[in-house]
């Protein structure tokens, strides 16, 4: 029996901070392992690191380089902890809830692109920028047409129609603005 997969609409996986932590661990652990293995085998520090080790051995614990190192390590550590705690916005939005168990989802990027393309098909629209937020869809429409009211009305109805098709589970309120280009 295999495990049931998790929900589709999950919080971000924090891949970038995890990769940063993994690379830091490999670099620090690998360097220390190499130093200590060479010391254990030959009884002396390896040639390329002799200067560094002897300089570090002469350092007091309250020396400025040690403090700077501790500050860098502490900042990195706090940054990683914050990236683990801050929940982040899921990349997928749940849509079309029905009686069937499970979820239907669509990526926020796809929703934004679909709405942007549908607005770009409206007469008088030169371009559009769409961003999908937690409870709102922000649409900025660029038009060279003087009668911006009509463009705004048509663009808004196009966005509303697009959202109506997808039926997001947590409703998205469209906010459409028109900027006139010259």
């Amino acid at each position: 029996m295999s495990a049931t997969p998790g929900r589709l609409t999950r919080r971000p996986s924090r891949v970038l901070p995890a990769v940063l932590l993994a690379i830091t661990a490999i670099a620090a652990g690998g360097f220390a392992s190499w130093l200590l293995a060479a010391y254990a085998v030959d009884g002396a520090w390896p040639d390329p690191a002799v200067g560094l080790v002897s300089e570090a051995a002469r350092m007091r614990l309250d020396a400025v380089p040690i403090l700077i190192g501790a500050a860098v390590l502490g900042l990195l550590g706090i940054g990683l902890v914050i990236s683990a705690i801050v929940p982040g916005e899921p990349a997928l939005r749940e849509i079309l809830a029905d009686g069937t168990p499970g979820q239907t989802a669509v990526s926020r990027r796809d929703v934004a692109l679909r709405l942007q393309r549908s607005v770009e098909h409206v007469d008088g629209v030169q371009g559009a920028r769409v961003s999908v937020r937690r409870k709102r869809v922000d649409v900025v429409v660029r038009t060279p047409v003087e009668d911006t009211g009509t463009v705004l009305r048509r663009s808004r109805s196009s966005v509303e129609e697009g959202l109506e098709q997808l039926r997001p589970v947590s409703p998205l309120r469209p906010r459409v603005r028109v900027s006139r280009t010259r």
Partner: protein
């Protein structure tokens, strides 16, 4: 659909980041008057006037094997964490079909069923591409599907139809309704044309009207 475990990453980040912060605070406390304020902490806290080389020499016998073990563990943990960043597909197993008395009638490779379901989904109007993953055994199957929906198709209608068909098809084949059907819809969007375009059907209508 392949995913990366967010829970594992968060746990690793909390552990790694927390240890880094504690180590940094411990080292930095040597430059603070903490030891004067709390003399009982002398055995655990670093002394600002101590020199690294002397400290290491004083505890040489114990420090070297401990440091070696810690550094190897850290490097291996880093490699494992890096490997875990490759997305993996949910695990699946062969589907065992049994009769009423739990006697094995036969096994089905889930890949075969997945291919059949994928082909069936591609036949749905408006779907341009599809992939299906089936797991959980024959008793409690789950499905995870991804379909790409064309620009001119109504995504909501296509999504509902695909889920219904997946549920029906699996129920027919395995005799059990899936416990979970997850569907990821990819919306294909095409840029608005800058020049006039004529569809084949419009062209035929125009020709018929002019004839």
């Amino acid at each position: 659909m392949r995913t990366i475990s967010g829970r594992r990453n968060r746990a690793a980040l909390l552990l790694g980041g927390g240890l880094m912060t504690i180590a940094a605070l411990w080292v930095a406390s040597a430059s603070t008057p903490l030891l004067d304020m709390w003399p009982e902490g002398a055995p655990f806290l670093p002394h600002g006037d101590s020199v690294l080389g002397e400290t290491v020499a004083a505890n040489g016998g114990l420090l070297l094997p401990a440091a070696s073990a810690v550094s190897v563990t850290v490097a291996v943990a880093g490699i494992l964490l890096l490997v875990a960043q490759f997305p993996t597909a949910p695990k699946r197993s062969a589907l065992r079909i049994t009769d009423g008395d739990d006697r094995l009638l036969g096994s089905v490779d889930p890949g075969v069923l997945e291919r059949a379901l994928t082909d069936a989904m591609k036949d749905v109007s408006g779907v341009t591409d599809a992939s299906v993953r089936l797991g959980g055994g024959a008793g409690a199957p789950w499905l995870r599907a991804t379909v790409t929906v064309a620009q001119d198709a109504e995504a909501g209608w296509v999504g509902e139809l695909v889920r219904r068909r997946l549920t029906d098809d699996v129920s027919t084949v395995l005799g059990t309704a899936p416990v979970r059907v997850d569907l990821l819809i990819r919306l294909r969007s095409v840029r608005a044309p800058h020049t006039a375009q004529l569809r084949a059907s419009d062209a035929r209508n125009t020709e018929a009207a002019t004839a």
